[in-house]
């Protein structure tokens, strides 16, 4: 079993205000998705959401700026870690992510490199 990090990139407009019922819908589909992964024993780490407001970028030369989120098309808004036998299986999981299925974002699948794997 290998671990893969799913990185959620949203392209949603940060000013987008979903209605209560849209939120309800989103939450239900996310929970269904995550519970499904967990039920198969493929969830290594629930990860966390990364806040959009209150974000800084630290650069060389003692430069600290606020997160450049509104200017870029996509921003990372969370991650989680799954464990599967291959990247293909992890991709299969990512394809079912509500963000991908319903539009509004993409999921980047990256191998978490372990010490015995130098590929």
């Amino acid at each position: 079993m290998k671990e893969f990090v799913l990185i959620f990139r949203t392209s949603a407009n940060p000013d987008f205000k979903p209605s209560a019922e849209q939120i309800q819908q989103m939450m239900t589909s996310w929970m269904d998705w995550m519970n499904g992964i967990e039920a198969k024993g493929q969830l290594a780490n629930r990860g966390t959401r990364l806040g959009i407001s209150n974000a800084k970028v630290v650069m060389p030369g003692n430069m600290v700026t606020n997160g450049p989120f509104t200017e870029v098309k996509e921003f990372i808004n969370g991650y989680m870690i799954v464990k599967t036998n291959s990247i293909d299986e992890a991709v299969k999981i990512a394809k079912e992510c509500p963000m991908v299925k319903g539009g509004g974002g993409s999921v980047e699948v990256r191998t978490a490199v372990s010490s015995d794997d130098n590929s």
Binding site: K17, P18, S19, A20, E21, I23, Q24, M26, M27, T28, W30, M31, M34, N35, R46, G47, T48, R49, G78, M80
Partner: protein, 410 residues
């Protein structure tokens, strides 16, 4: 409660509680700000719970987040300090002291006062129902559109206009003064009565939605019963009516969604607990000198909980309809009275009475005549059913009429 049901349940109940309390705090002119904060609270829940799972006490979590959002909004000097803050009576300069009271008592009080505000006589009954569904019952615009057999744009426009009127009229979210309460309560009861009917008679295919509308109407009526000043005979009579009707909910449609007429319903499936609740509230409603249309309709509905036809049953129903028509004439009540006549004095007598009504653009008028002529003159019966068929709008009604015609032809 399983996770699957928990989330929709929380949205339905907590969204409306938050909006009522926040709106009471901000004033009705900021109803949208209240809705926004309630929505944002659920957005935070979405973002956090999806990763961390649902907290031990989700309601407490939502309330804590909502309170923080109010504080943040105010401190951000957003629209709040400029527009809302000056109008908030209890706002001190120290943001730390802002206290949104989310106690059970304040939630109930806010919802009741909100109910009076939304059922303000200045807005149309349709808008009152729509707003109540949105604000007090946490229904989505889609669901409201579905219930009214309308579309989202129409409903959005209707609700927007109604909010504008409430704003312009500076409607206060408060209990009406003691002297006005009976008059204002009347409008509220009418709205709840219509809300219930919307669910009970709606042509929407969504059975769960229709039942939800009825349950919400019952819940809001209970709020009025639990409050001393609104626990009046009329309120009890309305609740009794709702209980009697609701008792038949499960038996009114078959698994294909087709209507099952009263006579074909399986009365062993009627909800006996609701019937006895209805009887209790009907008794409570008799403590007074007034007889409202709710009293009469509830009494008629009571007789209909006894399936067997007896002379006593139909004589009572006929008298109740006579009384009802004196209080408030309606073509449907007049038609129902005619049916009661046929059950008490026979079909010939009923035909004479029915033809006096001349409700020639009403499908039920022709359906009733068809029914009355069935065993007397099958040609006339068919002709009447055919007129009813051409006037019927929904497929389920057309289907029933078609079956009746086929039965005569057999």
């Amino acid at each position: 409660m399983a996770e699957q049901q928990l989330i929709p349940h929380l949205f339905r109940t907590e969204y409306s509680k938050l909006v009522a309390v926040l709106c009471k705090y901000f004033g009705i002119e900021h109803i949208e700000a209240a809705e926004d904060i309630a929505s944002e609270t659920f957005l935070s829940a979405l973002e956090t719970w999806t990763y961390k799972g649902i907290p031990q006490n989700p309601v407490a979590w939502l309330y804590a987040v909502a309170k923080n959002k109010v504080k943040n909004q105010i401190s951000r000097k957003h629209l709040f300090t400029e527009k809302i803050a000056p109008q908030i009576k209890y706002l001190s300069s120290d943001i730390g002291e802002i206290e949104i009271d989310l106690s059970e008592k304040n939630i109930t009080d806010s919802q009741l006062q909100m109910l009076f505000a939304l059922c303000h006589p200045s807005i149309s009954a349709e808008a009152q129902i729509g707003l109540s569904l949105r604000i007090l019952c946490g229904f989505g615009i889609d669901e409201i559109a579905n219930a009214f057999l309308s579309n989202k744009e129409t409903i959005n426009k209707r609700l927007y206009r109604a909010k504008e009127i409430l704003r312009l009229n500076k409607v206060e979210i408060e209990f009406p003064p003691e002297t006005e309460i009976s008059k204002r309560l009347e409008t509220v009861l009418t709205t709840l009565y219509l809300l219930f009917n919307e669910g009970y008679y709606s042509e929407s295919r969504d059975t769960i939605l229709r039942e939800d509308l009825c349950l919400e109407a019952v819940r809001l009526t209970y709020l009025l019963i639990d409050n001393e000043s609104t626990n009046q005979p009329n309120t009890n009579a309305l609740l009794a009516l709702m209980c009697f009707h609701s008792s038949r909910f499960a038996t009114r449609r078959n698994e294909n969604g087709e209507i099952i007429l009263y006579n074909d319903q399986d009365e062993t499936l009627w909800d006996k607990e609701l019937i006895s609740k209805g009887i209790y509230f009907l008794k409570q409603s008799s403590q007074g000198n007034t007889i409202s249309k709710y009293h009469l309709e509830a009494s008629i509905a009571y007789w209909h909980t006894i399936k067997n036809d007896t002379k006593e049953k139909w004589e009572n129903i006929l008298q109740l309809y006579n009384h009802l028509l004196q209080i408030q004439y309606s073509p449907i009540a007049a038609l129902n009275r005619t049916y009661a006549i046929s059950k008490t004095y026979g079909k010939q007598e009923a035909i004479l009475e029915a033809e006096k009504l001349q409700l020639t653009n009403n499908q039920y008028y022709f359906s009733l005549l068809g029914e009355l002529y069935k065993d007397i003159d099958s040609k006339k019966a068919i002709a009447n059913f055919e007129k009813a068929y051409s006037l019927a709008i929904t497929q389920s009604e057309k289907q029933i009429i078609k079956k009746k015609i086929e039965k005569i032809l057999q």
